[in-house]
Symmetry: C2
Subunit: 117 residues, 2 copies
DNA sequence: TCCAATGGTACCCTTTTCGACACTATGAGC
DNA sequence: GCTCATAGTGTCGAAAAGGGTACCATTGGA
């Protein structure tokens, strides 16, 4: 059944590439990680940066990123509810990866031009 | 319907990350690109480097990579059939990305340790 | 004629991914 | 009581992704 997230990748050279990809390849994950690189964001702040994401999808992807140890989710005891998301220490080590992806996309993909974050 | 490959990514900053990911996130693509970084490989050579890939899946992913302009497929007029695969010029620009993914996987994913290619 | 090597293709199935839509919970303020 | 803001959750369906299995085509050599 496909490339299950967290498959063991003890097969052959190069599998580390697939292992890393399995953590970041869900829709919206890459761009979420990119935005979190610049600091803490609340749920709705992330959501407003992604024009077409549904609440449901965003919640799910954030939960997976958290489960994989790439981001941290801080719940505040307040009303209205407040939840902050940050890159974890581990997530921060992904910055070269995310930046490499962005640099390549900016240079090579039509319509992927980026404006100021 | 999911993140269709080649979606226009003219929405917001950071979309370039997703755009790039959409090209390389099919199962086996990352590791195929990694192996092609070291030079031309024939279909069966690639296949033997990936212990659990089916012929069908490998063919499909190679065809997609070719369609996206990341690899070149050279057919030789001979029997038995011979088809060589290489990174395209465009594909070569992805090397920093693939290497970043591999470096991160090697350092951070259990069981993703790599041996000599 | 049969077998081998190579690189496929056809048909079908299962699972996963993603999104639409509706609904929920909390306290604060009016 | 009602509305608001925030961050969700539940249910379902469509499409995509991935894979299994069988079969195919070609020439060369035994």
């Amino acid at each position: 059944m496909g490339r299950t997230r967290h498959d063991r990748f003890d097969c052959s050279p190069g599998c580390a590439v697939e292992a890393t990809l399995s953590l970041i390849d869900g829709k919206w994950k890459g761009v979420v990680l990119y935005h979190l690189m610049s600091g803490t964001l609340r749920f709705n702040e992330i959501r407003r940066k992604l024009p077409n994401v549904t609440q449901r999808m965003l919640t799910n992807q954030l939960r997976e990123l958290e489960a994989d140890g790439l981001i941290t989710r801080t719940v505040f005891a307040q009303v209205p509810p407040r939840v902050d998301y940050d890159l974890s220490e581990r997530g921060r080590t992904l910055e070269p990866v995310i930046l490499a992806l962005k640099v390549w996309g900016d240079a090579n993909m039509p319509s992927a031009g980026s404006a100021a974050a």
